[in-house]
């Protein structure tokens, strides 16, 4: 049971890692002028909700299996995702808005955010891996 929980959260975390890497690659493409703002933002906006769902899934899994420490670790990231999504002004075309992305250093701050998330997901990956192995051994 424990092992199943950790295996699924490990898989979830892998998906989140791939997603962060995808965000970083797309944003750096925009920085280097390989793609334009419109296509970059439409690509990224497509994956905002799946990322939110995946993160929420991981958080709930930890809550459901009563691993409090990991749950509390995941909670800020999940709530930040939800906050970011909800706080988009009505006239904007999603979290990544092509008309605003080059203003006020938004590109840099999105890049920083993606990097931090990548680091966080890598950390969680190793936590889940370790816990999964522990759980498998103890079964």
């Amino acid at each position: 049971m424990e092992a199943a929980v950790f295996i699924s959260s490990l898989v979830d975390c892998c998906a989140l890692i791939f997603l962060s890497v995808y965000f970083i690659i797309t944003l750096s493409d925009l920085e280097c002028d390989y793609i334009n703002a419109r296509s970059c933002c439409s690509k990224l906006n497509k994956w905002v909700v799946p990322e939110m769902i995946a993160q929420a899934l991981a958080t709930l899994l930890m809550l459901g299996s009563m691993h409090w420490f990991v749950f509390l670790l995941n909670l800020p990231v999940a709530s930040w995702d939800v906050y970011r999504y909800v706080k988009v002004p009505v006239g904007n075309m999603g979290v990544y808005d092509p008309t605003e992305i080059h203003n006020r250093g938004q590109l840099k701050s999105h890049m920083k955010e993606a990097m931090i998330k990548l680091g966080f997901h890598l950390l969680c990956f190793f936590i889940y891996l370790y816990s999964m192995i522990l759980a498998l051994i103890n079964d």
Binding site: E31, M93, T99, I101, G105
Partner: protein, 858 residues
């Protein structure tokens, strides 16, 4: 990684692959510097012009000679100037305070002269101050870009970001790149010389190492001079590349070859989208529009390929078949607004020359066609979608005329304004768009090189905040005529007519892109204006017109310590209305300084105020209006605190500002009282949003007149110090401060606000003036809604009219004119512009100074 879609490879060599996007056309920014070719160091450590013995003497940085005192300096001691006891009474003390810099120029000492704002009552110079001159050698100053085109907030660029932060002033550029110019050197040569790495165009501030090599002033790369460039067509001489016109002028226009075209240059295509609902017909704008267009049909910019089309809409969308050969225009109605389609494939946008008669017939018939309409709904969204489909193949300009809230179909809007909250002192809501429909449409249009201009002629709330998006991101312009009615509001009708005259005949550029490059170390982080930022530094402008201004904010990423000059270049690539591809290049050069006092000495207060206005509007939309207002006040407080901290004196009383910044609190107070940013006074939401749009898209002079209008007394103008131009004598009355104290009952005063002018006549004004200039016997017989000055044959009248026409000389949009007598609304508008006075919700100028002083002492 190359991703699909709009991918392009950045090139560093001169042989480039076939371009498939504008990024590669215009050339890259510093991302191209990633791999410099071997053997040529990409970064030269020695400073500009140093170490190269054969550099042309013109390019050596000489210490700035003493400038002649300019006429405006005479106005620095206005009557009433009180000498104050200051700790800097002599120049030598000043120079010691400036860090022991030798050779402090007289000009710089003048701009740093401390002014006690609380004591000095008359801080306005008698004429509008010219922009500050950068501290460059005479040769560089002569070729530098005109400040009307390119202006920086700080004419002395700080060396490091830390120094800039210490000064607490924003660093940015204000551009007016497509301004109407009387003199423009056009370069017809086949080769356009550009730097190989950063793609900067050759400009007057490059250095020639010897006759065969030149060094880029933005990235310091050494380039070769091509053979064709060695020959100078103007002087017919060989071997003097620095005498060529590209290197002698900072504003040039190149004729672009086919390398600069993604497709053959497009013809001028004009589409007019007209609201014909009941409301629209009631307001009567159709008559004015059709008449205006008929009068100006010949003068529409274009050539034999110009196309024109019309689409009208109410609850359905109507197209007009204008094919040559038809006996009269044929109307095609599409009533399926959920999925608008184009009824026929051609002959909706027709060649103007061939179908001219039909177009004229249509324009004559159009007002009459809808007089009995009962349609009250407006399907603007579907009409715009139809316009987009119609214009996608070619691009061009769409002019939308709307008189009410769009209520039907895609993009329909709700009424969001609460009239009770118009005077609220708390937050103003709904400053941003309600839906992303118009933004998305604008981005689609921008991608197809379609620019959308919006004329809003409504009397009720029409959610301009959402509608304006369609113009903002497609590089269009927004015009607003509140309470437009052809009978009840003749002043607005006149203004609409005059504006249309200019709008239809002004120069236009199509499928344009603009790139702004700066010296290595500076980078642009925020853009203001009507355009779409496609990628870093590349602005996509579907249409470019001579009346829009842009602003950018910069930051200093790397220290500029090893260079003494910072340069900026704006390159605008566009298709002229005659189908010629052109590149207009402006280059500005400014000195780099390392002392805080020099940064203050070079501050351009008008540019700073405009940039702050742009920033405040961004802040009020992204966060809240009160945040923006607080930020504006803090900008003044921080700046004056920084100045005080830098000076070595302790001056506990009084509010000291350097002379360069003495108008800063006044301009900020005026900004706080603008319709865009004011609270506590009843402001309709649409008017507020329109004022914001204006502040973000007008050129600098227009914004300054809007924010701090010019007040003159005109009933007693004399010939003293008058200008003598072309046989006419133009009197030069001094500028007055914007306070009711300066108004007297015995005088008549002219307030020039840019888009509107007021002539306030005092009750006791001498009757000679009223009779000779206004044509009425006495004050009582003046009508309450006069909108122009009659042409009478008296000296008084000639003098006044000469003065007013001199004021309007270089204006593009003629202002509306009001004689203020008893009419309540014009009186209120007039007095709202007197920014130094106290109102029930805002400070007077003196109170504002005290408030600043109080904040500074916290």
């Amino acid at each position: 990684t190359l991703t699909g879609g709009d991918s392009s490879s950045t090139t560093t060599g001169s042989a480039s692959p076939v371009p498939n996007s504008y990024e590669s056309l215009e050339g890259g920014g510093y991302s191209d510097l990633a791999a410099p070719p071997a053997g040529v160091p990409a970064k030269q450590a020695p400073p500009f012009g140093y170490n190269y013995p054969t550099v042309h003497p013109a390019y050596q940085q000489n210490p700035a000679p003493k400038p002649d005192p300019s006429p405006s300096h005479g106005g620095y001691n206005p009557p009433g100037y009180q000498p104050y006891s200051q700790p800097f009474p002599s120049l030598s003390e000043l120079s010691s305070a400036l860090g022991g810099l030798g050779g402090v120029s007289e000009q710089e000492a003048e701009t740093l002269r401390p002014v006690n704002l609380l004591q000095e009552r008359n801080i306005l110079p008698p004429k509008r101050a010219p922009p500050p001159e950068p501290n460059l050698s005479n040769d560089l100053r002569k070729v530098n870009c005109s400040p009307d085109t390119f202006r920086c907030t700080l004419t002395n660029i700080p060396q490091t970001q830390a120094l800039l932060n210490k000064a607490r002033l924003p660093l940015g550029l204000l551009l007016h790149p497509f301004r109407d110019l009387t003199q423009l050197p056009v370069i017809t040569s086949n080769t356009i010389v550009r730097c190989r790495s950063c793609r900067t165009y050759i400009n007057p501030f490059v250095s020639f190492l010897d006759q065969r090599r030149w060094k880029c002033n933005l990235c310091y790369r050494v380039n070769d001079v091509p053979d064709e460039f060695m020959y100078n067509p103007v002087t017919r001489s060989y071997g003097e590349p620095h005498k060529r016109p590209e290197v002698q002028n900072s504003t040039v226009e190149f004729i672009a070859s086919s390398d600069y075209m993604l497709r053959p240059p497009q013809p001028a295509v004009y589409l007019f989208l007209l609201d014909v609902s009941h409301n629209a017909v009631e307001s009567g704008y159709l008559n004015v529009f059709c008449q205006s267009l008929l009068d100006n049909l010949e003068k529409l910019p274009g050539d034999t390929r110009t196309h024109i089309g019309f689409v009208t809409f109410d609850s359905t969308v109507h197209f007009y078949n204008l094919q040559e050969g038809l006996s009269q225009p044929q109307m095609l109605v599409v009533s399926d607004i959920d999925d608008v389609f184009i009824p026929t494939h051609d002959s909706l946008l027709v060649n103007l020359k061939e179908s001219k008669e039909l177009v004229k017939d249509l324009l004559n018939a159009l007002p009459g066609m809808f007089t009995h309409t009962r349609e009250t709904q407006s399907a603007l969204g579907p009409a715009l979608q139809a316009a987009y489909k119609l214009m996608s193949p070619t691009g061009g300009r769409v002019s939308v005329f709307q008189t009410q809230l769009p209520t039907l179909g895609a993009g329909h809007l709700q009424s969001r304004e609460d009239p009770n909250l118009r005077s609220s002192t708390k937050n103003v809501l709904h400053l941003g768009p309600a839906t992303d429909f118009y933004k998305k449409l604008a981005l689609d249009c921008s991608g197809q090189q379609i620019g959308v201009d919006l004329f809003l002629l409504s009397s009720q709330y029409s959610d301009l905040a959402s509608l304006a998006c369609v113009s903002k991101y497609s590089a269009g312009s927004v015009f607003y005529y509140p309470s437009f009615h052809h009978v009840h509001n003749p002043a607005q009708t006149q203004k609409f007519q005059k504006d249309l005259q200019r709008y239809l005949t002004r120069k236009i550029g199509f499928e344009a892109v603009m790139r702004i490059r700066c010296t290595k170390g500076l980078s642009i982080h925020t853009f203001h204006g009507n355009f779409f930022v496609r990628s870093t530094d590349l602005l996509s402008l579907a249409n470019v017109n001579p009346d829009s201004g842009f602003a950018v904010q910069m930051s200093i990423e790397e220290s500029l310590a090893d260079t003494s000059l910072a340069c900026f270049q704006a390159a605008l690539l566009y298709t002229s209305s005659k189908g010629k591809r052109r590149i207009r290049v402006h280059t500005l050069c400014l000195p780099v300084v390392s002392q805080l006092s020099e940064v203050f000495a070079g501050a351009d207060i008008q540019a700073i105020s405009c940039l702050l206005a742009n920033m405040a509007i961004d802040r009020s939309i992204s966060s809240s209006l009160s945040d923006a207002r607080d930020a504006l006040v803090n900008a003044v407080v921080d700046c004056l605190t920084a100045y005080r901290a830098n000076g070595s004196n302790i001056q506990p009383s009084g509010l000291i500002a350097p002379a360069a910044l003495r108008l800063f609190p006044l301009y900020v107070l005026a900004l706080l009282k603008q319709k865009a940013l004011r609270t506590g006074t009843s402001t309709r939401l649409d008017e507020r949003v329109f004022s914001m749009c204006e502040l973000k898209s007008q050129p600098l002079q227009q914004i300054m007149r809007m924010v701090h209008p010019d007040l003159y007394r005109i009933d007693n103008m004399t010939e003293q110090a008058a200008l003598h131009l072309n046989d006419s004598v133009i009197p030069q009355p001094p500028l007055l401060q914007l306070t009711a104290e300066k108004l007297t009952r015995e005088g008549a005063f002219l307030l020039d606000c840019g888009s509107v002018m007021y002539l306030w006549v005092g009750k006791g004004c001498n009757e000679t003036f009223i009779r000779d200039v206004l044509g009425f016997q006495n004050y009582a017989s003046l009508p309450s809604n006069m909108t122009e000055i009659p042409e009478l044959q008296t000296t008084y009248s000639e003098r006044t009219r000469a003065f007013i026409s001199w004021l309007l000389e270089s204006r593009t949009f003629l202002p509306a004119f009001h004689v203020v007598k008893d009419d309540a609304s014009t009186k209120t508008s007039f007095f709202q512009h007197l920014v130094e006075d106290r109102t029930e919700s805002a400070f007077s100028y003196y109170e504002f100074l005290l408030h600043i002083q109080q904040q500074m002492s916290k």
